[in-house]
């Protein structure tokens, strides 16, 4: 369709520059956070910023926490963690599946599961 081609031609050089800059920034950013993404043996489960559980990744366990939307079930197994069940509408946290580094966030139920980053105040200094 020629209208589509014309529209494509209307994209300016500055659009392309902006696109390339943004892609570079976010890709280098992803490497950056991968570098700082904590790996460790602890799993912190927080609801609304309050620490509810501190578990070990090497210990198989299932716990339930209550948030504003209901009960979220978190499962730790084989050095990984997942949200097994959540009352939130979009289930992003459940669909993220088994995770071994970084974090799982469930916004509607205010649940944050963080792996590692428990090095005695190290992370708290960052988040403080």
């Amino acid at each position: 369709m020629s209208l589509a081609r014309e529209t494509f031609k209307e994209i300016t050089i500055y659009d392309w520059v902006l696109l390339v800059v943004l892609v570079l920034v976010s890709i280098s950013g992803s490497f950056l956070v991968r570098g700082i993404a904590s790996t460790g043996d602890t799993v912190r489960i927080e609801v609304g910023g309050k620490l509810i559980y501190r578990l070990s990744l090497s210990e198989e366990r299932t716990v339930e926490v209550r948030g504003p939307a209901g009960i979220t079930r978190v499962e730790v197994k084989g050095g990984r963690v997942r949200v097994a069940d959540s009352p939130c509408p979009n289930k992003l946290c459940v669909r993220q599946g088994w995770t071994e580094r970084g974090a799982i966030i469930c916004l509607p139920n205010r649940v944050v599961v963080t792996i590692g980053g428990d090095a005695e105040g190290g992370v708290d200094a960052v988040s403080g």
Binding site: L3, A4, E6, T7, F8, E10, I11, T12, Y14, D15, L18, L19, L22, V23, V25, S26, I27, G29, S30, L32, V33, I36, A37, S38, E46, G48, G49, P89, L92, R95, Q96, G102, A103, I104, I105, L107, P108, R110, V112, T114, G117, V123, V126, S127
Partner: protein, 184 residues
């Protein structure tokens, strides 16, 4: 006086029609299962951007507010966390796109403006999520690059869709414009 009134009611009609399109697209998007958990297409932004380019910031901002409010009432998420994020992201991206199209329209086409809007939307939502709900920097930082990268893709696609729509509308007379709007 009479002319001013006529202008005003014409603006209201535009706002009503475009807000209805935005809500329709938003609803359509909710029905499509997202291929990636964090991917949001932001199709309603096509309407916001088109309205911004054609009728200015006031009309675009009104459409955004109507859409966020009505969608939250329809889905029962009014005043919930999703609503706060939608409102913040929507208003911030509309304002920034307005600023960009006012100051930088000689540099950027609809695609560039759309990219700027997408960045504003995502960064505002991440900041709000941090301030209001999560309160921990690390998990937010961890998802930020992925969300921005996905935002670049959707911003690009939406910007091209908006550019196509603008081209189509501008190529036609006002009467045909209205008809083309009704068809699509």
């Amino acid at each position: 006086m009479q002319k001013a009134e006529w202008m005003q009611s014409r603006d209201r009609l535009r706002i009503a029609i475009l807000a209805a399109y935005a809500i329709g697209l938003h609803g359509l998007e909710r029905m499509i299962p997202a291929p990636l958990p964090w991917l949001r297409f932001g199709l309603a932004n096509i309407i916001t951007l088109t309205a911004l380019m054609l009728y200015g910031l006031r009309v675009a901002l009104t459409i955004t507010l109507i859409r966020v409010l009505l969608v939250s009432l329809l889905t029962g998420s009014f005043l919930g966390p999703g609503f706060v994020l939608s409102l913040g992201g929507g208003v911030a991206s509309t304002l920034l796109m307005g600023l960009a199209s006012a100051l930088l329209s000689s540099l950027f086409s609809a695609v560039g403006i759309s990219l700027i809007g997408s960045m504003a939307h995502n960064l505002t939502q991440l900041t709000l999520a941090y301030l209001l709900f999560i309160r921990r920097m690390e998990p937010i930082l961890f998802v930020t690059p992925l969300i921005l990268l996905l935002g670049i893709i959707t911003g690009m696609v939406n910007g091209m869709a908006s550019g196509l729509l603008l081209k189509k509308l501008k190529g036609d007379s006002p009467e045909v414009k209205a008809a083309a709007g009704r068809e699509s």
